[in-house]
Symmetry: C2
Subunit: 411 residues, 2 copies
């Protein structure tokens, strides 16, 4: 088999006069065969296929603080890894993450290596089919609060959200204490509420239940959730490890979409000098490991990421990538109906509009909150302004009055 390489690009900062070519060479050898010049000739031939090499060194000059910086791209033979994210991250950014000011900004996987990852089981097309929702963004809402609530309370919350015509409802990601509302019973109760609401609205609503507990039990628990009627699962991928997502996605018994939550990702992506780019963490790695939907901070809400970075995350989830299905980008946090035109401008139909307070905080209740969002979504898809749409939707008008209509202001 021909040798294949994972290409990894780093942004490194260092003292003025840093020899970046030497640094790159040190990475390429140090993180693969360990040493090269010391190796006897005979040994080199055997080791050649494990040796990393430098692809590019782009020096970037000296910045305001007098630091030199460079983008270094290293090729690592896939022969050195097993096809899983712990192996990949440990190898290309394990020890290296601690070695000065260095940030992992890009990973390119060769096709044969990437094919060994599961990728999304359903992806955008599969979820649209389940919901019979085509040619528009989906709408998701989040339980307002979950801790300490019993099943009747949560079921009523779910029902109200479903009545508003949302496509998905997710648990709060901090739902760990399940003593008041155990996993399988909660799933069964919300499933019944979804079916009850469907009789009213004609729409089925998926429920992403937060999958928690010991990693030794989580796979069985997921299967039990599916048997209990789960229509989706939510996973805190970064606190559990990407391999948990990978193995859930690879399990044929998990016959529901998996939604990836970005909890803890902000400890990794925001620094200019350290960590890992958000589009790698929340786009590429989530997709190859098998997320059908990936949440991340939108550029417009309360917990914001730069717009360019959000577009890169979405691109990593959506762009053609071998046989990998496309995953839904879910820009989140502080979303209200007035922001729908921005989200639509950025991603068109291939996104999920995700709102917590923007649904529950509606003065007329969660069902009205959902209808306000759906009116906004219908408007942008039809090319109308929210102001126009609000004439026929008193719920939307109320939402725009409360939270504003910034897209209109910009015109």
């Amino acid at each position: 088999m021909a040798q294949e390489f994972v290409h990894v690009t780093y942004l490194a900062h260092g003292k003025q006069g840093t020899d970046w070519n030497k640094k790159a060479q040190g990475i390429a050898i140090g993180l693969t065969v360990g040493s090269w010049t010391d190796l006897p000739e005979a040994k080199r031939a055997a080791m050649q296929k494990h040796l990393g090499h430098v692809v590019a060194v782009e020096e970037g000059g000296t910045d305001a603080q007098g630091l030199s910086h460079a983008r270094l791209t290293i090729a690592y033979p896939t022969a050195n890894f097993t096809p899983d994210i712990p192996a990949l991250l440990t190898s290309v950014f394990g020890k290296l993450s601690m070695d000065g000011q260095i940030r992992l900004v890009d990973i390119q996987l060769p096709a044969a290596f990437q094919r060994q990852f599961p990728g999304p089981k359903y992806g955008i097309a599969g979820i649209r089919e389940q919901l019979n929702a085509h040619d528009r963004p989906l709408l998701m809402s989040i339980f307002k609060s979950v801790i300490g609530h019993d099943i009747p309370t949560l079921t009523e919350q779910f029902y109200q959200q479903a009545l508003g015509g949302v496509d998905l409802v997710k648990d709060d990601e901090i739902f760990f204490d399940e003593s008041y509302a155990p996993f399988e019973q909660r799933i069964a109760a919300c499933r019944a509420a979804a079916e009850r609401a469907q009789q009213e609205t004609g729409k089925f609503t998926l429920y992403a239940a937060n999958l928690t507990g010991p990693v030794t039990e989580i796979f069985d628990k997921a299967r039990r959730g599916v048997e209990a009627g789960a229509s989706a699962l939510l996973l805190n991928v970064l606190t559990y490890g990407y391999d948990v997502l990978h193995r859930l996605a690879a399990d044929p018994a998990i016959t529901v979409p998996i939604m990836a939550h970005p909890a803890l990702a902000g400890a990794l992506y925001p620094s200019a000098h350290y960590g890992v780019s958000a589009h790698v963490l929340l786009g590429q790695l989530m997709r190859i490991a098998g997320a059908d939907l990936s949440l991340y901070p939108s550029a417009y809400g309360s917990v914001a990421l730069e717009r360019a970075e959000t577009l890169k995350i979405a691109d990593a989830l959506l762009a053609p990538a071998g046989e990998l299905k496309r995953a839904f980008p879910v820009p989140s946090a502080g979303i209200h109906p007035g922001l729908v035109p921005y989200l639509y401008r950025d991603l068109g139909n291939d996104t999920v509009i995700n709102a917590g307070g923007g649904v529950h905080g509606h003065p007329a209740g969660a069902a009205a909150g959902g209808r306000a969002f759906n009116a906004a979504i219908d408007a942008v898809v039809a090319g109308r302004t929210l102001t126009e749409a609000a004439e026929a939707s008193p719920e939307l008008q109320t939402a725009l009055d409360l939270w504003g209509n910034p897209a209109e202001v910009q015109k």
Copy 2:
């Protein structure tokens, strides 16, 4: 049961004039019950036990960039969590990690909550007993390179290291492709080499084999490793997730010490504004989850951390903490014999001197490299200088000539 709280301290930066009390209040409510002022009186009584509260807000003034900063301490009821690290991190730094310039700098766990974590199964006392090594720092060395080597080559490397009198040998953490040297066969071969060396040196050498593979199989694999004769296991805790360490440590069938590798930690700890402090990641969380030994960058070597931070990591591993056993601090990277006096000054006997190149790079070979380190360790324990000790140890003299003797220079 009386209410108990996890206290978490954050360092937050923000615009001048930020209302830090309001920010803290928002965290305390937002990350627990969701909302409070909206709740009806009757509901509040039921929710009181789930409500977080603000313990302290210490404003720190305005920094050089015109940013205001503050230390915020929030108390989270343990009733909201399950006793595992995914629940803890997701709850206290999940969404919050993405909410502006905020860094998690301290966690205080109440005794009853902490008792639900396994902690180190052997700890310092247990490892010393296994090695019959008391009243001195231990010595560890690392395979020089592992990728692509077969079992006879690795076994010979192991044997040479053991001959030098090292207490532990660890795999390289990037050892993932095991096709040339499968896990159980490698373990059995190194075990035999350890016993062979013991006949020469009178010392047994532990071998920490890198535990890799799918998270769905890793627990069985660990048990098979133990059956094959493993004397220790190495785990890349951050890329696999802390809960994998937790469940390995809690498994009574894993009857060997576990060594935690910090791979990827540098993506989380170095920024002044974001991420999680190194002593939380590599000290406290490693210890409660069950690491018997925790590696981290030393203050003196090639991949360095500030000395004050290394001492905080060591303190988190060593200080009394309920019934938790003490875990070995293993300051690593670029260690040579001339640095032993610094490591001994910082930690005394309760540390592992960990060397890769400092053992293998010795001009007379790995066994001589080990003997040079042991001479340095014996010297500092006896209160002698390395220069004095080198008179009786040509191996140490060679090492000091090659890598320097900075402690001597400082006198």
